[in-house]
């Protein structure tokens, strides 16, 4: 079992191996949360790398009495994902894309291909979660995937506990409305078969 507290102390004392251990221990979790919130691997990787860098550089800001290290990382990750959403909302023109109009698009690298295959095999639940609004998607992922308490969620989302609770309930209701008809269709098909 990794002693996160000891690693944090060692990194605060300047031991870079402790920083690497913290990074490796939380990398996948941070990346997956960002992926769930943003819906694509490229943005998620950028955000996750940024969040981990920020956390390690600002380790002196971490207060163990307020939240676990994993929760603190999720606070930073959610904040970064919101920034990313804000950037996406603003109208922008990509000069690179404009300059490359009409040119042959190079073959994608193996890694994006792999992500594309993964995307095809994702579940209906995933699609339904991605269709939720940002606040509801945050709530459902933090509760159902990360397993945070409502108090932790309120800390991460920067809202009161009752708001975190109502967002989870509302997100669940939306998912139920999306997923239930599909279930019924499946049952009817089974009956016909």
């Amino acid at each position: 079992m990794l002693d996160i507290g000891a690693l944090i102390q060692r990194w605060q004392a300047g031991d870079e191996r402790a920083a690497e251990a913290l990074y490796n221990h939380h990398r996948d979790s941070v990346f997956r949360l960002a992926h769930g919130l943003l819906g694509n691997a490229a943005d998620a990787e950028e955000v996750a790398q940024d969040a981990l860098t920020y956390a390690l550089v600002n380790i002196h800001r971490y207060d163990p009495g307020r939240a676990s290290f994993a929760t603190w990382l999720h606070i930073i990750t959610v904040s970064r994902c919101r920034d990313q959403h804000r950037r996406r909302r603003l109208p922008s023109l990509s000069l690179t894309a404009w300059l490359q109009r009409g040119r042959d698009v190079p073959d994608p690298a193996p890694w994006p291909e792999r992500h594309a295959i993964q995307a095809e095999t994702r579940s209906q639940v995933w699609e339904a979660v991605q269709a939720l609004s940002r606040p509801l998607r945050e709530a459902i992922l933090l509760r159902y995937w990360a397993g945070h308490t409502y108090r932790e969620m309120a800390e991460i989302l920067g809202c009161p506990v009752p708001t975190a609770q109502s967002r989870v309930r509302l997100a669940y209701k939306r998912l139920r409305a999306t997923l239930a008809p599909a279930d019924l269709v499946g049952l009817r098909e089974e009956e016909v078969g």
């Binding site: 860098t53 550089v57 970064r80 639940v125 995933w126």
Partner: protein
């Protein structure tokens, strides 16, 4: 509780968002009502499905091999020196930075009014540039601080947006002031180096005309930079790229101020 439980109640029950009293009342109803128990079980099944699907979906995604500690390690070392000390010193309070920037705007405005009130009629410098220099210094404090500190958590983006707006307005005011300075510099250059009469008579008025004509293209450039810069900062308010552009803007403005002292 004789009537059946509503979906709202069942969802609250399953999501542990009820008070103890509400939960106890529902427990007693559920003990006697198989219909509500069945509906509760349906909700539980859907909850399990959502939970397991999300776990399974996100278990399959992994970061690329490029996302490794080695990629950020140089950045960690770089930021643990002077910048680390700067951060820990607690000087980067947003309100203090906004105050510095606001003071810079006021000083730049005073400098602009003073500069505009003086005619460009001297072979030597008409006026010094201490106020705009002070304004540049005040703008540089939040820009340098935020360049390294902008990636912080909630609500900072709002403060950053306000700060970016103040800095945008301040650098625009400085830009106006510098149009006057460039006009004077052109006048002095023309009067000193291309004048047979030592900057008197017709040569004097030609030098004045050169300075005045230069104002038109300078004003067009200024408008383009203010609009273009404003759009850039609007899209990237609070991001490092925005602070970086502010840094370059201030550096260029300081350069023009220094040149005005030398020419």
């Amino acid at each position: 509780m004789n009537s059946h439980l509503s979906d709202e109640q069942l969802i609250g029950y399953n999501h542990a968002t009820l008070t103890d009293a509400e939960r106890e009342a529902m427990d007693s109803h559920l003990a006697d009502c198989p219909g509500c128990r069945a509906r509760l079980a349906e909700h539980e099944a859907l909850q399990r499905r959502i939970h397991h699907s999300l776990l399974a979906d996100l278990r399959t995604v992994r970061p690329s091999p490029d996302m490794k500690f080695a990629a950020i390690a140089p950045g960690l070392k770089r930021q643990s020196g002077f910048v680390g000390l700067w951060r820990r010193s607690g000087q980067l309070v947003p309100s203090a930075m906004a105050l510095a920037a606001l003071a810079g705007v006021v000083i730049a405005l005073i400098g602009l009014i003073e500069g505009a009130g003086q005619p460009p009629v001297g072979i030597t410098q008409a006026h010094a540039v201490p106020l705009p220099m002070v304004a540049c210094f005040l703008f540089a404090i939040p820009v340098i601080g935020n360049y390294y500190e902008s990636r912080i958590v909630p609500l900072r983006s709002v403060a950053s947006g306000v700060l970016a707006f103040i800095l945008w307005a301040g650098t625009a005011v400085l830009g106006l002031y510098e149009i006057i300075l460039v006009r004077e510099m052109l006048f002095r250059i023309r009067a000193r180096f291309w004048s047979s009469s030592g900057g008197h008579g017709m040569d004097y008025w030609r030098a004045v005309a050169l300075g005045n004509w230069a104002v038109l293209p300078l004003a067009i450039v200024w408008i383009a930079l203010v609009i273009g810069g404003g759009e850039y900062h609007y899209k990237r308010a609070g991001q490092r790229s925005s602070w970086k552009l502010f840094g370059w803007t201030i550096a260029v403005e300081v350069l023009i101020l220094v040149m005005a002292l030398l020419v």
